[in-house]
Symmetry: C2
Subunit: 215 residues, 2 copies
C-alpha cells in the first residue's frame, strides 16, 4: 500500500492526474455528484483501469458498486497536486507571451497567481503589464524574500533562458515552467518542465502525409 511516496509516482501518472482534475472541475460545474472509472474513460480517453491504478498510488478513493464522489475526488486530487491553496508565481519576460500568461483566466481559476513580472529591457522596466509593474530582473532575489514564491515561469527569448533560470534559482525558486526553447541547467532540487510550441508543431507535422506544402 504505497500511500504518498512522492518520488515513486510515474510521471505519466502525474500528468494524467492533472487531466483528471480538469475533468472533475468540469463535472463539478455541471453538478454531477458521482462518477465511475468507465465514465472517466469516456470523458478523457484514458483507460478505466489506468485511472484506477493511477489513483491507487495515493490511497483509496472510490466505493465498489458506486464509483467516486466527484467533489471529494476533486478535492483530494487538488490536495495531491498542491493546487488547493493559492500558489504565488514569478514571471520573467514581459513580452507577448508573458502578457498572455498574466491575462490568462485559467491560472487564477486554479489558484496560480502571477504576483510579479520581471524583464531585463530597460524600456519595459517600470511600465505596467495588466495590473503589475514590470521590475528589473536583478531585483528577483530581493523581491522574492518577501513573496517566498517557489514557482517561476520563463517567457524570454532562448538566449536569455539560462540567465533567467539562474536568477530564479538564486531567488529560491524550486519549480520552473520554461517556454524558452533551451535546455536549462539547474540544481538537482529544482524541477523544470519545458513547453515548446515549435516542437509541438514539428511533432504534428511528422504525422502529416507527404504531398504538397504551400505558402
Amino acid at each position: 500500500m504505497p500511500k504518498n511516496n512522492s518520488h515513486k509516482v510515474p510521471m505519466p501518472t502525474l500528468e494524467r492526474l492533472a487531466t483528471y482534475l480538469t475533468a472533475l472541475v468540469d463535472l463539478t460545474e455541471r453538478g454531477m455528484a458521482t462518477i465511475s472509472s468507465n465514465e472517466i474513460e469516456r470523458l478523457t480517453g484514458i483507460n478505466a483501469a489506468q485511472f484506477r491504478k493511477d489513483l491507487s498510488y495515493f490511497g483509496e478513493f472510490g466505493r465498489p458498486g458506486i464509483g467516486y464522489d466527484v467533489e471529494e475526488l476533486r478535492e483530494r486530487l487538488a490536495k495531491i497536486l498542491k493546487v488547493e491553496r493559492s500558489q504565488p508565481v514569478l514571471l520573467i519576460g514581459a513580452g507577448n507571451l508573458g502578457s498572455a500568461l498574466v491575462g490568462f483566466p485559467g491560472l487564477r481559476a486554479q489558484n496560480f497567481h502571477i504576483v510579479a513580472v520581471f524583464d531585463n529591457n530597460y524600456n519595459k522596466i517600470g511600465r505596467r503589464l495588466w495590473d503589475l509593474e514590470i521590475c528589473d530582473v536583478e531585483d528577483i532575489p530581493n523581491t522574492n524574500k518577501d513573496i517566498q514564491a517557489r514557482i517561476g515561469i520563463i517567457a524570454v527569448p532562448s538566449n536569455a533562458g539560462q540567465d533567467a533560470a539562474n536568477k530564479l534559482v538564486a531567488a529560491g525558486i524550486k519549480a520552473i515552467l520554461n517556454f524558452a526553447p533551451t535546455i536549462l541547467k539547474v540544481p538537482d532540487d529544482v524541477v523544470v518542465r519545458n513547453v515548446d510550441f515549435v516542437q509541438e508543431l514539428a511533432i504534428l507535422a511528422f504525422h502529416l502525409s507527404e504531398e504538397q506544402p504551400s505558402v
Copy 2:
C-alpha cells in the same frame, strides 16, 4: 532495418527528435561541424544510447569513430519532421494567446507560418492582428480551400474548443495543436496535441515540498 515506417516510431522518440533538432540548430549557429552522441547527452540530458537508438528508426546517420555531421543531421531531422519546407497554419482565437502566437518569432524561424486567424467574436472580426485580418470562424472551410493548410491551432476558451476543432476538421485540417483545456473528440485520422499551462503548473506544484503557501 526499419527505415521510415512512420507508424512504428514511439512517441517518446518523436518528442526527443524535436529536441535534437533544436539543439542542432543551436550548434549550427555556433559553427560546430561534427558532434558525438556523448556530446548530445551532455547538451540535452538525453542518454547517448537513446539518441543513437532514436536515430536508428530512420536509418544511419553517423560515422563510427567520428560522430555526426551537424549540418547533415539537422537537415535530415528537419526532413523527417517535415519542417524543411514552409507549413501554412490556421489559428482560431484572436485573444492574448493567439496574439502571442502570431507574434512568436520561433514559429517563423522553423518554417511554420500562421496564414489566417479566425474568431467568433463580432467585435474582433474585421480587425487586424499584427499583419493578418481576423476572419469569421464560419469562413474557415472556405478560406482553407485556397490555403490547403493541414495544421491548425486552437487558442480559444475551453467551452469553445470542441466547436473550433469541428470547424478545423471540416476544413480538412489533419493536425491540431490545442491550447484549450478540453479533451477534443476528433476523427481517427486527425492528430491532436494538447498544451495546458495550468496542468503543467500543477505537475510542478506536486514536486514542491509541503510547507508554507502565500499570497
